[in-house]
Structures are given as structure tokens and as C-alpha cells.
Amino acid sequence: MANYGPASAFLLVGGRNITPDTYTLDETVEQVTEQTNSLGDSWEEHLPVGIGKVTLEAAGGLYETTTDRIMTALQEQGDSRQLVAYGFEGATTGMNSVQIDGTYAATWKRIAERNGLTKAHAVHVISGEYMTAKIVHGLTSEASSSGDSTTASVNHGAATTDGATLDLHLNALTLGGALGIVITAIDSADNVTFGSLVAFTSSTGAPFAERKTVTGTVEQYVAISWDFTESTSGGPSGHAVTPYVSITRG
């Protein structure tokens, strides 16, 4: 058992890290139920309809107009489809998180106060499957031209034949002369030999987010590799990438 505090919570929307703009992150997962007691019953009865509902409330953060922070992530979002990732155990490799892909209606508030800074408040009713996930690569920067995270591969205990859903949130990217970067999920049966599982679309800028779904076997150990595409004038320099990748199996 472990306890977690505010330093462990994070929120990514469409590749944007709006954790620094959020003071409270409130997740509610509920089952829609229908009242089923009839005449003659003395007590209320309810049965689940089989439909889940997720509400996410990001509250109290400072109103921030910097590009790709809370305003562009939430105010301009409306009902556009965005990938959302959040967690309460830290945005680090191997930890549990949530990944969601669905249109959502946002209630967006800007709150000016007589004795305080202007705050922002957003409530999202998320339309989409609620997926608990494992973080395959946390919010850390990688500066090598190519590399992988196999030294910190995520061990699921066993392989699955039910496929997986993987989300990429590219939070920061400096190409440094490269043409783009390709992030690939890789897996292994023995943590020694890894093979390509699925490649995300080559990216040329951040923020960027993408979901990939694979069918069939996903091996016990999962990691990522990254590769900056070199230009004809040579390898990149001063390049860096912060790729957040999570996986839900089955």
C-alpha cells in the first residue's frame, strides 16, 4: 500500500500538460442506474443499466494564457475529440493511470476575485471508454537521437492474446534539425529480445496525441523506442522529446 499526494497527480489533454495549471483534480466514475422497485415494495431498489459515466473536474488553477496551457487545452476544446490521460500515482513509468478517448463537453469558468488572482475551472463529462492503464514512458525528456526504455520495461506478469490500446501524448519536442520523430511501442516475452508492436505516426511538433489499437498477442514486457529522422544534412543536434505513453491491455 502506498499513499499519494499532490505531487503525484497529473493531467494531459491532447498532449498538453496542464498539471501546473490545476489545483484540484476530481475524478468521479459512476454507473448509471435505474430505479426498479415496484408497487408493494417498502424500499427503493436500483439496477445498473450497464452504462458508465466519467466526470473529471480540474479546478482552482490560475487562469493562464500561455500557448498550449490551460486555455488552449480546455477553453478552446468545446466538443472536439481529444485524448486525455491523468493519474494520481505520478506520471512515471510503471505507475497506474487512466486513458480516455472521447468527445467531451466542458464547462469552462474564469473566476476573477477581489483579493486574488484570476482562476480557471473546468468540468468535463467524458464520452468514451474509461481505461485504466499502465504508464510505459513517463513525462521525462529524452535527448538521444534514438533510444529505448527497455531498461525500465513494464512487466505485466504474463502475455495477453487480447490486444491492447496505447495512447501517446507528445508533450514537448525539439527537432534540432531532424525531420521528425517516430515513437514505437515494443514488447518482449523474455525482457531480452524485443520486437516492434506498433508505431505511432511520425511527429514534427508538440503537442501531439494519438491512439493506436493492436490485436492479438502483446507480450509480458512493454517499452518504447524513439528515433529522430535525420535530415540529408546530417544528424540532429540539440533535439529532445518528452513522450508520455500508456497501455491498456485486453
Binding site: T150, D190, V192, T193, F194, G195, S196
Partner: protein, 59 residues
């Protein structure tokens, strides 16, 4: 199982020092049966046929 890599950058293997190497097309690797099974099913490698044993010369 001995395997030949068919697609550069799609197969990674840890060497004796524990360092992961990215394999180029044509590289031959030794992999466990469990690892080989998935790599073969994804078409990333092919099995390297063992060399035929020399025929004993007739006396």
C-alpha cells in the same frame, strides 16, 4: 532459435553486457523460443536454417 532480422529498427536485443542493440536488416540473432514465436508471427524475422551436415565420404 537462430533468426534473421527482416526489417531494420524493428528488433531489439540485450547483449551480454545488458545493453540493448537495435538490429539492422540481415542481422542474425539468437532468441528464446517464446520471443521468436511472436517475432515470427509479426513477420519481423525469419528462421535461419541450420547448415546441412556434411555427408560422410565414402570409404
Amino acid at each position: 532459435m537462430r533468426l534473421r532480422v527482416l526489417k531494420a529498427g524493428s528488433v531489439f536485443q540485450r547483449d551480454a553486457a545488458g545493453v540493448i542493440r537495435v538490429m539492422d536488416t540481415g542481422a542474425v540473432i539468437e532468441a528464446s523460443d517464446a520471443a521468436a514465436k511472436t517475432l515470427l508471427s509479426r513477420g519481423l524475422v525469419e528462421v535461419v536454417a541450420s547448415e546441412p551436415k556434411r555427408k560422410k565420404e565414402a570409404d
